[in-house]
């Protein structure tokens, strides 16, 4: 499988303070990777670099064959990076349908359209003409995922997609991600729910204080329970 995303020696920060130090990460086509770590360890900063909101201070990011470390967000989006951001960030004053349709794109394929998203998340179908802001948290999360799918992404990034959701809703989300994996959609999942992540992901990267401190596949990771606990632990 070819490399879809390759992050090399990435450093980034805000103003004078550095947050990321020499981060490396590779995701191949069809692969599911995770990013582990507690809050404030640099996960969100990495996501900001990946989607172009933040320009790294050093290092390279290549995505879908292009160097994108300094590219504008929309260029990266067009290349096929689908973002499900932390806090969902759906458009509250747009209806569910509009949220899905507004930024939809077929540049990288036609697999996803309105009908398919609705059949994927039937709850959204029932809320089509409701304003995004009036949805419950779980529904907003589904909408955020649906919205990203509508851009027909080559890589889906899910930043804390289950945070703050009721257990049953979480289960729905994880089931959906499982289905996406089955379709060979490459994903980068950031979450603290190890139990759900381990069966889903092909490999994991753990961040602590802005540095990669642990990598490996699920089997390798499970053998390091102590380390894991320190990494994201309760």
């Amino acid at each position: 499988m070819s490399e879809l995303l390759k992050v090399e020696n990435l450093c980034a920060g805000y103003g004078a303070s550095n947050v990321l130090f020499d981060v490396n990460l590779t995701i191949r086509e069809g692969e599911v990777a995770t990013l582990l770590g507690r809050n404030g360890m640099g996960k969100s900063t990495l996501v900001k670099c990946l989607c172009g909101w933040l320009t790294p201070t050093a290092g390279r990011i290549s995505f879908a064959g292009s160097e994108v470390a300094k590219a504008a967000p929309h260029v990266i989006g067009k290349l096929g990076l689908g973002l499900v951001p932390e806090g969902r960030q759906i458009f509250p004053s747009l209806t569910v349908r509009e949220n899905l349709v507004a930024t939809a794109s077929t540049t990288n394929g036609k697999a996803w359209n309105l009908d398919r998203v609705v059949s994927f998340f039937p709850r959204l179908g029932e809320r089509m003409s409701q304003l995004g802001g009036t949805l419950s948290g779980g529904e907003q999360q589904m909408l955020a995922i649906g919205r990203a799918l509508m851009t027909n992404p080559r890589l889906l990034i899910l930043d804390e997609a289950t945070e703050g959701l009721a257990p049953l809703v979480r289960a729905d989300i994880w089931r959906a991600l499982g289905k996406l994996k089955a379709e060979k959609l490459a994903m980068l999942v950031i979450d603290k729910d190890l139990k759900a992540l381990l069966p889903l992901a092909d490999h994991h990267t753990g961040l602590e204080k802005g540095r990669v401190v642990i990598t490996g596949n699920s089997v390798e990771l499970q053998s390091q329970q102590e380390r894991l606990h320190a990494l994201i632990g309760v």
Binding site: N39, E86, G133, L135, E163, G164, A166, L194, K209
Partner: protein
């Protein structure tokens, strides 16, 4: 008399219930921690307690006084001091001036145009003391915008202490700190414990379980459990909600 009593606090944002009938108490001298995943409504709750966010339902009593309809600055004058999850400082000021601002908030005669604020020796002394408590004595004259993130977080706490609070609301004081910085703050919090009633919102479980007398778990805007740290650790519902385990 409890330092803080909330009764069935509710805040709605559009279709989302950010806080859902939250009732909790903080007893004198108690450190009560609130944990919960992002988006659970912790910051909203703090905002409601401080008066920055108007509650849709419910009541808040601070030291026996009903403050439900009181503006923020009056609650602060009652002795309710808070820190912010995202640092809120006067960026153009020096560290000392930030703390002086806090000291002066408790001064009866601050509405003065003439004397130099820096000439008030008593106030300056209090400000310096507060900075010393958080270990920033060497940074009196540093412009806040130039301070490291961790130092800014410490300054937040110094400002809260400088208001001579009767109740502390600490909103994720450890957020974004390095390990060394965290350790310093944790030992600071340990020294504060018992001297002030504290409501602590924090992600760092290690810290919470080390510090708290009681822990409340806020999920989806609701408190699903309030108990001692040990019992919370064992609570199946908490594990399910917080870690996503199927209960």
């Amino acid at each position: 008399m409890s330092a803080l009593v909330t009764h069935a606090l509710v805040k709605r944002f559009g279709g989302v219930l950010a806080t859902d009938h939250v009732s909790l108490t903080v007893e004198p001298g108690e450190l009560h921690a609130i944990i919960g995943p992002n988006g659970a409504g912790k910051s909203t709750l703090i905002g409601q307690l401080a008066g920055e966010i108007a509650s849709d339902e419910g009541s808040v009593r601070v030291l026996g006084v009903d403050v439900s309809r009181m503006p923020t600055h009056q609650r602060a004058q009652l002795g309710l001091a808070r820190t912010y999850q995202v640092t809120q400082l006067a960026k153009e000021f020096t560290a000392l001036d930030n703390v002086l601002l806090a000291v002066n908030a408790r001064a009866a005669h601050n509405f003065r145009f003439w004397g130099n604020a820096h000439d008030d020796d008593a106030a300056m002394q209090k400000a310096a003391t507060a900075l010393a408590i958080v270990g920033m004595s060497h940074l009196h004259h540093a412009e806040v915008g130039t301070l490291a993130h961790g130092e800014q977080r410490q300054l937040e706490i110094a400002m809260a202490l400088a208001t001579e609070p009767k109740l502390l609301l600490l909103d994720e004081p450890l957020a974004g700190m390095s390990q060394g910085e965290s350790a310093a703050i944790i030992s600071l919090l340990k020294s504060l414990k018992g001297r002030y009633p504290i409501l602590l919102v924090e992600h760092d479980m290690e810290a919470v379980f080390a510090l708290a007398d009681r822990v409340s778990v806020l999920v989806y805007g609701r408190i699903i459990a309030t108990d001692t740290p040990d019992r919370i650790r064992e609570n199946a519902e908490v594990r399910a909600a917080y870690l996503g385990d199927e209960a």
